[in-house]
Subunit: 431 residues, 2 copies
Amino acid sequence: MEFMLQLLFTMAVLFVVSRIGSVAVSRFGLPGLIGEIVMGVIIANVTIGDWSLFSFLDITIPGPGQEMSEGSHVYTVIKVFSELGVIFLLFTVGLETNVKDLLGSGRAAMLAAVLGVVLPFVAGLAIIMATDGNMNHALFMGAAMVATSVGITARIIKDMRLIDTREARIIIAAAVIDDVLGMIVLAIVKGVAGSGEISITDIITITLQAVVFVSGIIFVCKFIVPRIYNFFQRRHDAAVNAGKVPYSANKLVFAIIVCLIMAAFAEFIGLAAIIGSFLAGMLFAEHAWEWGLEQKMESITTFFISFFFLNVGFQVDIHAMTDVTIIIITLVIIAVALVTKFVGCGFGAKMGDKNLDKDGRNIIGVGMMPRGEVGIIVASIGLSSGAMSSELYAVVVLMSVATTIIAPPILSKLFRKKYKEEYTILGEDRI
Amino acid sequence: MEFMLQLLFTMAVLFVVSRIGSVAVSRFGLPGLIGEIVMGVIIANVTIGDWSLFSFLDITIPGPGQEMSEGSHVYTVIKVFSELGVIFLLFTVGLETNVKDLLGSGRAAMLAAVLGVVLPFVAGLAIIMATDGNMNHALFMGAAMVATSVGITARIIKDMRLIDTREARIIIAAAVIDDVLGMIVLAIVKGVAGSGEISITDIITITLQAVVFVSGIIFVCKFIVPRIYNFFQRRHDAAVNAGKVPYSANKLVFAIIVCLIMAAFAEFIGLAAIIGSFLAGMLFAEHAWEWGLEQKMESITTFFISFFFLNVGFQVDIHAMTDVTIIIITLVIIAVALVTKFVGCGFGAKMGDKNLDKDGRNIIGVGMMPRGEVGIIVASIGLSSGAMSSELYAVVVLMSVATTIIAPPILSKLFRKKYKEEYTILGEDRI
């Protein structure tokens, strides 16, 4: 069992390394994933003489365009863990996407989400078309700039106890809609990039497919799932009334099965696996809390996801970052990523809710800026399908990290400005 | 990403299959793992014409003595999942093994455990030495017959609400001691079988090693862990008192790291990985509940462990079971497995507690009979290190399944006989 020993050792080392990164950055109030990515970059790029942690751990990463199985066996397993981590992560995001809330969210959130998706997508697409000229690269850059990662903003809102403010409610609702739109954009981009030659007919077909798939699931959530649930609830009650011990299914295993089947199905029809697992999560969103699914999936995701963030870092070649063109593109992309969300979401919300003042508009614009993990996930799908260059992949990683670092301090300053009085009244001024 | 699609699909199919097996047998009051093993046997042995689920799912299992990497990539991942499942399963068993309770358990439990380990081990060893003659085979058979799986007995006790009876307390305590002794036996057997030539000096050295390792961990649990815990608790309290936000570590990740390191270390020094993870679990036992570790690890184990039980079935060649000698050995082993636990544990408990009546003695003897998963885990360690033949592996699987099926109905009959009055008083007679 030489291999298992090697694997256990490698897993332990990688866990320790990612934890060190995570704890280090969280001292500065940053989300742990940034530290994990940075540790991944360090591991992959630092060598001491002939020695590197990679050779020590027997990690060989297959080159761009190579099959996963071309790497070492240890790396194959790490890569599988990282893919499963992302699939389960998007499943838990889906678990938090309740269709009822989604359909009931106001005009302000809806407009903030739509404009906050369209602007970054178009801008990202245009910049890469103008510089690099490759349509596939441009499509994936656009898609990677779309997705808001609301986790960090939500934590600030929670820490500042501002969950009941109008801005907080709009941000949370807009982020949920943003996730769904982001999945549709990814589906379209992946379909278009996969089809080689790009025609208007193709784009329309793929867009229709993606929209039908996503709205089909929303329909199922709204009309079919409650019926199924009620059916089993009645059977359960009938069994209890008849004095029998009711059959109780293992909900976690059931949820995992549905998640895997939908992920495989989405991958099979040419969408990304994460789209399937995200939509699978939505199917369970209504009862996720009651069944304890979120907590249980969180434990499983915790196990797998660190490998993903490390692996994100593994793929970043810092030597590419010495190229002046790439540095300029990176800075432009970061600036545009910040501005398009600020304008799209801020003014979108203002259009939907005339009573929103300037501070409120700014809060929403800044709150929607962080891209976090989802942009990186999109880019890594592009990278492994060959539709994204490794240079632009590194740009996306830096853009995600930068937006996630820049937004939080501005956001808490804006919140403090607007809600100063509330804090003074409550005697809370340590924020 | 052809490979991920194949893998997701295979995982989904295997989850569905194992769930069907689990639900089917649980209708008869049997533990789900029996159904999962049976489904594994069916998948591996049933072909429809040229078609088999294995070829459909691209599962190729390496032959005996071959490296894990000789199988298909999909199987490598399944096998890794199954190994991790067992490692985490034994970690959770360790989490339930509180050293304080262990050291404070009474004479009855102690004697029941010791005799219940010595008798099956000697009998198993003797039978295989007499028939097969291979010392390694005999050692692993003895070790596989040692471990009690108390899960099924505990469930009966819980369902019958008899947790406060003297017999229930002795069984639970004896099973915990039994686990620790079982790990020592496994360590010795693995060490002796691995060293080729067997000398008395080797056996003594290895036994000392195993005893020192296990008692070292027990010492750490008793004297070092509380100090470490108190140190961090004081730091935490000091931070709170100083008005700072105390740093709070992610306990789950910390526990996983310790588990992986100790599993790798145990494997490295020639013990089994599960011995390391079991002892790692013991380190956290005191605070497992407080930190929610048991629940969190259960979710992770749920994900992995089904692959182990399926894989147990995969390795059972039913064609070998047509050999008359093997059938006779199987029946003898099953009978001896039942009798040795009945006598060893029953009379051991009686020796330790003179007030125990005949019914109580029988209850303890029968309650300790089920071998469940641990015997199979021991046998599969023997199989993959080449120290166990695949015929005898199948015998162990059948022995584990048989003891787990036979004991429960007898146990509930005995409990009902002894505690009839309690039930009549409570008006509970549906058991």
